[in-house]
Amino acid sequence: MTTILEVRSAVVRYGAITAVRNVDLSVDRGEIVAVLGPNGAGKTTLVSAIAGILPLTQGSMHFDGQDITRLGIEEIVRRGMSLTPEGRRVFADLTVRENLVLGGSSQTDRALFEQDMQRMFEMFPILHERSKSPAKTLSGGEQQMLAIARSLMSRPRLLLLDEPSLGLAPRIVDQIFRLIDELRRDGLTILVVEQNAAEALAFADRAYVLNVGEVVYAGTSAEVAASDDLAEHYLGGQLS
């Protein structure tokens, strides 16, 4: 397996606060990797830095063998890495279709763009149904699907998902995780940040456990799930 994302010694500081300390992380092609940890562990900061939203204070990032440490968000998306942010952040006043149009705006081939749009509507029939409604009229789960579809419109090779289950009903959470599994079967590589450790470990191949900005454990999902110590200290108790 080849490495698609390689993060070395990443440090992110906001003023005097160091939110991410010396994190090493790698993702191989075709994997699902989970980043777990309690609230405030630096998970969102880490994934935001990977996506180019926040600058790294120190360290380096390589995507597909190329140095992306200093690139801006826009350029990173164009290279094939797309973030579905925490809180979804769909374009509330725009229609579902318009959201997807913006998602696919880096696609220059008109035919491929239409094909992708069609594919999203097949994958998410509800988005097809509501394609002319403003995104703000969608339910939370529907907005999450729209946010993921919007990211997929740029044809990423690596999808970053930040807290996809946050604030959703358990039934919807299952649906979202099934979707993630389907995407993997289609060959997509996924890095997912989750507070919901049990759910995430059920489908991820490997996991990193973060606490106060540091990686306290990295291993296969089975190893993480089997460790009572990790569960008790960082992952909110029960894992299975």
């Binding site: 996506a51 939203i53 998306v77 769909v90 509330a92 006043d93 725009l94 149009v101 705006s105 880096s106």
Partner: protein
Amino acid sequence: MDYFLQQTLNALSIGGEYALLALGLAIVFSVMGLVNFAHGELITLGGYAMYFTLLFAGPPVALLIPVCILGAMLAAVAFDKVAFRPVRNAPPTTGLLTAFGVSIIIQNILVIFVATRARPVPTPDWMRGNFMVGELSIPVLQVLEFAVTCLALAGLLLLLNRTVVGLAMRAAAKDFVAVRMVGIKANRVIMTAFAVSGVLAGIAAVFIISRRGAVDPFMGFIPLLKAFVACVLGGFGSLLGALVGGIVLGCVEVFLQVVLPPDIAGYRDAFVFLLVGLVLVLKPEGLVGKRAELGDKEE
């Protein structure tokens, strides 16, 4: 009847002009949170583009119209590139001060290198005449101004609803980072917003200058003030608000002009500002503004 119709047309054309200016101000504000106090200088620069073209290239006068619009647009894009881009991530006050700085610099460059006094810019003859509808004599300029305002609005709506960069501008008004997350370059969105504000200011400038027949370095100030008032009146940050605010402001001004006795008509603007004050007290979000336009960023 004749008089009433005449004044209605007057109100609509003035209102249209204010709306064009207010929309330009609002579009830049909604995208990047900057009140561009150098917006008036776009009018000035469009005007001087006409003046210099005439000076060095000569007639035909009708060709000056595209020159003015293009000049204002290029000036707006240049403001963004040279002045506003370097301070984009600075606190909002820095942007505001930069805008004042740009305004002062442009005015003084014109004072030093051209002249303090007004310079004549002719209006094409066909714009100055009147045409007859039955018994009524109607000025071409006013009808044209209202019609062009409507056309510009239609164009703006098409841009905002049918093009990727237009959709991105609407989306950026609420969450700029999310727009960048789909791979759309921030520079492109902001540059387009400035270009649009420049085109709208340029169109307004053609009409402003054809009324005054001349350009001077400080001519942009009053129109800027009106645009700002229109935005406040309608609700800052909302494009619909800018449009409504502009039309309302134009109508109120003409109405006051008509009803005020001649000896206090000079205080017209004081009455207008009193009204704006009242709106701010009674409905601080503006006539059609929603707080959501600005404050409701997605968490």
